[in-house]
């Protein structure tokens, strides 16, 4: 190559750097997608393979329902092909942190598998020893290996746990209704390290027989913790198996015979172990039963006592309130009575006191008066005496007078003096008696004399005088008497008063006495009252205190009792469980078996392989399509370039350069662009795609960092293909150009001929079109090459976008179509796994009745399900695992499973004419209604059955058949080992958290029954699918991103060519005075139309492309949804449109910069 040519190439690159870069970019994009996606699947598998090798993943695992003895292990190791055996002890347990049970995201108790770790082997491994017998090695991510027996390593992935385990934490293991002490020495472990293991390549941990049935995580604990003498698992490495690629059919074929050999020895081994177990356990069970019975009686007694106590406390706590209230009331009322009485006594006393005081005052007043007459009584006596004396006098006087008078009268009548004298004498006697007073002694002497003289006259006289005097005297005496009488009267009055006073005094004294007595009585009363009050109050407080205590106790009493009871019952249950376990083991001895599995049975193992294979499927279509578009666009670009430089070509040719030399320039240009693009594309592609796809998958998988590799094969394929595409474009263009003679080349190429487009022939449309539309239409239709290129570019990108989005739709619709959607195939919510009726002693029908009784279950049906390999006469080479499903009740099945043909919409009912098979199975085995299919039994014999219909189904393969047909076909009645159930509407209408809690509770309740093993909800499957989808989101994003990038580059490049080709035309309209926006719309009307057409045809291409990819990518057990959602169409469209808009915006700037002077200077 001459220096000049090289310079020319170099100058060309600089001058047309945009074009050069866009070719490089397209190549880079194409190659990065092609090689990157192609490399992802092998990278994924290599990463896993290295991981398996480094951490010595076992090839085969054996699990025995009755455990494995040392002897079993020895016998296993002797099977040919077995390189090493690692026996492992494990226990599935609940796990607690800080005394709280760890709960999974579905609300169920988190189940952990505690697995034995042989510390000698682990230590040796740390020291670099690669012991084949040390399998499924923990890969320490953080922390250290256990040094103490009570230290553990924990699973790094615990996606379903609500608790994040950390180094330094202590976890406590508890058994599910079992005495863990029978298995483990320690149940408390300190986390010292965080690990992963190739056993669990995904976040799936598999199933367990305890709790909700889902294993959450694992821990490794030093083997010495196990007190059991048997192993739960045996892991086996097959000699030479690492010589085969992991996941490959060759590997499986290599391991398969060893599995078969192990299965072959299993029967003998199981029988031997069963024998020794029955010898060991049978007496244990017997002894245990009697002991337990005694213990139970004792426990019940103690519990009854405790219950009584609790009852009393509770009774008092409940009724004490009332009693206390009554007491309080009594206290209050009794007090108030006494108080009232005391109060009225007090007022009475006060009244009495007042009366007393008044009387005392009166008395005092009377006494004061009385004291003024101290001699009243004497006076009175004297007066009385005086009065009596006076009376006597008066009487005498009166007598005397009367005698006198009588005498006188007598005397007078008789006239007899003598009488006088007698009278006189009598009077004189009288008088004498009264001598000295009224009758003076002289008178009396006179009278005497007169009498003596017998002077009657005189006597008369004197007597008369005496009579008068006497009369006077009498009157006087009468008066005096009257006075004296009055005086006496007065004195008597006084005395009476005095008497009264005395009486009053006496009374007062009495009253005082009484008052005093009252007062003291009152005081005593008060005192008594106070004391009583104090007493009562004390009593009341005591009662209150007692009540409060009783109440407090009553609250905890139940709890305490419950705790106590739980404890006791736990003990009993442990004992019972031990016995039951032993019994169960004894009962299961007959049906005991080993399950011998290859790696495919490891949780997540198959999924990992499938995920990698899915990538292969993607890489089969996506990059190829991508490559096609990129090649076409770069070819166009090269062609265009050659055409632009035809004058120069002509000149060179005229100067004598050979065609080869001239073409070399373009070849070099193309090769350089391709090389740069390839280097860039490989650098990005080999890293970006595997890493981001792997990251997307890492939500599902727990594997080490991806191993990237430069995959020369894909690099070379990509490079060669692009080089071929781009340089053939250059050569083709050169060839047609160089065919012309130089002079013709140097002359401007005759302008393209204007031609009528077909639209113009349709006059009525053409006439209605605006001028601009006509121009656009004509430009578009005239320049067919550009038209088609742009259309291919845009539609291709849209199709790719749509396919990427559609794949996500398809996969996400599996779980929707199968389980969760409105119109899903599975209308049931749960699968209840039944225990062997021989063990539980309960018939499936009884169990079904029990389950149906639960209000949380709307409807349920017995089902038999077994998975066998199935195939058809037509396609005997296609062997698929298919589940035979037999309903307990034929009519009811359609309430649980939609039996309908997807394409025809025909609904089937199960009958004995034939079986119904699921769509994917039918398609894979090319089966139509009326054909025969067959399944292979464990003994290798085939059982044929006639197909009555094909039913819609999206996950797994099914054969549905009636009980009768099953019996007829297999010669035995189906064993109903499942109950398929629907949840009550009530549960379904709950909000999510409530519903989950309710479901967990139902599962736990049901699993507690002897006849039920575990409850599996369909949404667990949905969850798993959805988790996978999260990874797919990122994947789709990558595809959409790269398709978008391609769309952008293609649009940019094509627009660029479009503008360059029409520079002159554009400059002309600029000279004509078109505004910038008018110039832009002159060009972009075409772009917009092309974009619209491209999008529309892209969608039309995308739909079958999507179908095609789905068909390739689909794994056997699932049927992807066939339709693309509207949203995906909208997104695919808008992404393309957005890119078109961005490209237009960039082109607008370019249009603005077009120089009129330069563009019109000369003809090209």
């Amino acid at each position: 190559m001459s220096k000049a040519l090289f310079k020319d190439v170099f100058r060309s690159i600089i001058r047309t750097r945009n074009r050069f870069l866009s070719i490089a970019a397209i190549v880079a994009l194409g190659i990065s997608v092609f090689a990157g996606i192609k490399a992802t699947a092998p990278n994924l598998k290599d990463t896993a393979e290295k991981y398996f090798y480094d951490y010595n993943l076992s090839d085969i695992s054996i699990v025995s329902t009755i455990g494995l003895s040392e002897n079993d292990i020895y016998k296993i190791s002797k099977v040919s092909g077995v390189e090493a055996v690692m026996p492992v002890k494990s226990a599935d347990v609940f796990i607690e942190v800080d005394g709280k049970k760890v709960i999974d995201i579905e609300g169920a108790q988190y189940v952990c598998r505690a697995t034995s770790l042989n510390m000698d082997m682990a230590t040796a491994f740390q020291n670099g020893v690669n012991d084949a017998a040390y399998m499924n090695r923990p890969d320490l991510l953080e922390g250290a290996y256990p040094k103490q027996e009570n230290e553990c390593l924990i699973d790094s992935s615990a996606v379903t746990s609500t608790h994040k385990f950390a180094i330094g934490e202590t976890v406590t293991l508890t058994g599910d209704n079992e005495n863990l002490k029978n298995k483990l020495k320690n149940t408390q472990f300190t986390i010292v390290g965080i690990v992963r293991t190739p056993m669990y390549i995904s976040v799936e941990r598999g199933n367990t027989l305890i709790g909700s049935g889902k294993l959450g995580n694992f821990i490794f604990i030093p083997e010495t913790n196990f007190v059991t003498d048997y192993y739960t698992h045996a892991f086996i490495s097959v000699a030479g198996a690492f010589g085969y690629k992991a996941f490959s059919p060759e590997y499986k074929a290599y391991v398969e015979p060893v599995i078969k050999d192990l299965e072959a020895i299993s029967e003998d081994r199981v029988r031997a172990r069963a024998m020794s177990l029955s010898i060991e356990l049978a007496p244990q069970v017997e002894r245990g039963e009697t002991e337990l019975a005694a213990k139970e009686i004792e426990a019940e007694q103690k519990l009854a006592e405790a219950r009584e106590l609790v009852k009393q406390i509770k009774y008092y706590a409940e009724n004490g309130d009332e009693e206390l209230a009554a007491k309080k009331e009594e206290f209050e009322s009794s007090l108030s009575d006494a108080q009232r009485r005391l109060l009225s006594g007090r007022s009475e006393y006060n009244a009495g006191l007042a009366e007393y005081n008044r009387k005392l005052a009166e008395y005092r007043a009377a006494k004061a008066i009385a004291d003024q007459y101290p001699n009243a009584r004497a006076d009175y006596a004297r007066a009385k005496y005086d009065l009596e004396e006076a009376k006597k006098d008066l009487d005498e006087a009166e007598n005397a007078l009367n005698e006198t008078r009588r005498l006188l009268d007598q005397a007078g009548e008789e006239g007899n003096l003598s009488n006088y004298v007698v009278v006189a004498q009598a009077v004189a006697r009288v008088l004498a008696g009264r001598a000295g007073e009224s009758i003076s002694p002289e008178t009396l002497e006179q009278l005497q004399q007169a009498i003596n003289e017998e002077n009657a006259q005189q006597v008369y006289f004197i007597l008369e005088g005496a009579q008068r005097a006497l009369e006077g005297e009498l009157n006087k005496a009468k008066y005096e008497y009257q006075v004296k009488e009055m005086q006496l009267e007065a004195a008597a009055q006084d005395i009476k008063k005095l008497d009264e006073l005395e009486a009053a005094e006496k009374k007062l004294r009495e009253a005082e006495l009484k008052l005093n007595a009252g007062s003291s009585e009152l005081s005593i009363g008060e005192l008594t009252l106070n004391m009583r009050q104090m007493e009562l109050k004390y009593e009341l407080t005591l009662a209150e205190e007692k009540l409060a205590q009783a109440k407090a106790k009553a609250k905890t009493a139940d709890e305490e009792y419950a705790k106590k009871e739980a404890e006791v019952r736990q003990q009993l249950q442990n004992a019972r469980h031990d016995i039951d376990n032993a019994k169960k083991v004894l009962a299961s001895l007959d049906s005991a078996a080993w399950s011998v599995d290859g790696r495919d049975a490891l949780p997540g193992h198959v999924e990992y392989d499938q995920s990698a294979d899915n990538m292969t499927a993607f890489s089969a279509v996506f990059p190829v399509f991508f490559f096609f578009i990129a090649a076409v666009v770069s070819l166009t670009t090269m062609t265009r370039m050659v055409e632009e430089e035809r004058v120069q070509l002509g000149t060179l040719k005229a100067l004598g350069y050979t065609s080869g030399a001239i073409a070399a320039k373009y070849l070099i240009y193309a090769t350089l662009a391709t090389l740069i693009g390839t280097v860039l594309g490989l650098a990005i592609g080999f890293v970006l795609f595997p890493v981001s796809i792997y990251n997307a998958y890492s939500i599902m998988f727990t594997t080490p960092k991806i191993i990237l590799a430069f995959r020369t094969r894909y690099a070379l394929i990509g490079l060669i293909l692009f080089l071929a595409a781009v340089s053939s474009g250059a050569i083709l263009a050169c060839r047609s150009a160089l065919a012309d003679n130089p002079s013709k080349l140097m002359r401007p190429k005759a302008p393209k001929k204007g031609k009528r487009v077909f639209l113009e022939r349709i006059g009525f449309i053409w006439k209605r079109m605006s001028f601009n539309t006509k121009v656009t239409a004509r430009n578009l239709l005239r320049n067919k090459r550009r038209f088609i290129m742009t259309l291919v570019g845009i539609s291709g990108c849209t199709a790719l976008l749509l396919t990427g989005l559609g794949i996500k739709d398809s996969i996400s619709s599996i779980s929707k179509n199968q389980f969760s959607g409105e119109n899903a195939v599975a209308k049931y919510d749960a699968q209840i796994v039944l225990n062997d009726r021989n063990v539980s002693g309960i018939s499936p029908e009884e169990t079904l009745a029990g389950v149906k009784e639960d209000v949380r279950v709307k409807d349920a049906i017995l089902t038999h399900m077994r998975t066998l390999n199935g195939s058809s006469e037509r396609e005997p080479d296609t062997v698929l695992p298919v589940s035979i499903l037999v309903p307990g009740n034929t009519e009811d099945l359609q309430n649980f499973i939609k039996l309908r043909n997807r394409k025809t919409g025909e609904a089937y009912t199960l009958n004995s004419e034939g079986v119904l098979v699921s769509e994917k199975f039918a398609a894979k085995t090319k089966t139509n209604p009326g054909d025969e299919i067959f399944v292979t039994l464990n003994d290798g014999s085939n059982v044929n059955m006639k197909v009555a219909g094909v039913v819609e189904n999206y996950a797994f393969h099914y054969i549905y058949m009636t009980k009768e047909l099953y019996t007829q076909t297999f010669g035995e009645e189906p064993v109903f080992d499942f109950i398929t159930a629907k949840l009550s509407d009530n549960i379904k209408s709950m909000d999510e958290t409530e519903r989950n809690a309710e479901k967990t509770k139902l599962a736990t309740d049901l699993a507690k029954r002897d006849d039920i093993s575990v409850v599996v909800y369909t949404d667990q499957a949905v969850n798993t699918f959805n988790k996978l989808l999260k990874g797919l989101d990122a994947l789709v994003f990558i595809f959409v991103g790269s398709a978008g990038a391609l769309a952008f580059v293609v649009l940019y490049n094509l627009s660029n060519i479009n503008i360059n080709e029409r520079l002159r035309e554009l400059a002309t309209i600029k000279v004509l005075g078109f505004y910038d926006r008018e110039v832009a719309s002159y060009v972009f009307r075409e772009n917009i139309l092309l974009t619209a057409l491209g999008v529309a045809s892209g969608i039309l291409i995308g739909i079958p492309l999507h179908k095609f990819v789905i068909n390739i990518a689909e794994v056997n057990i699932v049927m992807f949804g066939r339709s693309i959602s509207w949203l995906s169409m909208v997104i695919a469209t808008s992404v393309t449109v957005v890119f078109a808009i961005i490209v237009n915006a960039l082109m607008r700037q370019k249009l603005k910069k077009i120089s009129m002077v330069e563009s019109l200077k000369s003809v090209e």
């Binding site: 393209k752 204007g754 121009v775 005239r782 000279v1071 004509l1072 005075g1073 910038d1076 009129m1156 003809v1163």
Partner: protein, 233 residues
């Protein structure tokens, strides 16, 4: 004041080390309605001056006035409007849009201008009444140039600028085109500026501006321009 005034206009091109003055202080004026011819040898700066006058290019220095407005001071938008409404441009190589018929090529110009003439009538006037629906490729060079002139005229501009309109044509056709231009100027009073390196056509102009190396060499005013038929070369 004249209709067109160039006042000390400079346009320089930097070619590596050296500066090429394509217009080196050009000063002249053209009156309204004049038919003006700018001549000079190849590379004298004729096209440069015409492009500046037509608003397709800017000058580095100096003032350009058309109808009193300072064109050299126009912004981008005003410049587009100037081209759109006031100037008609005819190129040596016609620059027709190959995808459009003769009529459509003219319509391309008329549809953007309000005061434009009827496209069909203008084409009839330039003698292409029967070739309206022909594509450029179906027309001869002279016919294409007529379409180009029709496109310029149809905008009804104040100023018609033609850069070597006959450069790619044979003698007779060239003459016909010149006649068309002269007639247009006479009939409509439109100011027409024609750039040509052909000295022989100068007698048909009112004003002849000769350029040499980017400078005005001579300006001649011809009060009695001859008719195109009467000249020969």
């Amino acid at each position: 004041m004249s209709f067109i005034e160039f006042d000390g206009v400079y346009k320089r091109y930097q070619m590596g080390e050296i500066v090429i003055p394509a217009a080196d202080g050009v000063t002249f004026s053209i009156e309204q309605g004049e038919f003006c011819v700018i001549t000079g040898p190849s590379g004298a700066g004729k096209t440069t001056i015409l492009n500046i006058l037509g608003g397709m290019d800017d000058c580095d220095d100096g003032k350009v006035r058309v109808a009193g407005d300072l064109v050299s001071g126009y912004n981008r938008k005003r410049l587009i409007e100037y081209r759109r409404f006031e100037v008609g441009f005819v190129f040596q190589f016609y620059n027709l849009v190959p995808n459009l018929t003769a009529l459509e090529n003219v319509e391309l110009a008329t549809q953007i201008s309000k005061k434009s003439l009827d496209a069909q009538k203008v084409l009839e006037r330039v003698g292409l009444g029967d070739r309206l629906n022909n594509f450029p490729s179906q027309l001869s060079g002279g016919e294409q140039q007529r379409v180009s002139i029709a496109r310029a005229l149809a905008k009804n501009p104040k100023l018609l600028l033609c850069d070597e309109p006959t450069g790619a044509l044979d003698y007779t056709t060239g003459k016909q085109i010149l006649k068309l231009l002269q007639d247009t100027s006479r009939e409509t009073g439109m100011t027409v500026v024609v750039v040509t390196h052909n000295q022989a056509v100068t007698p048909i102009a009112n004003r002849i501006i000769s350029l040499r190396s980017g400078r005005v060499h001579r300006i001649a005013v011809n009060d009695n321009p001859v008719s195109v038929e009467r000249i020969e070369w």
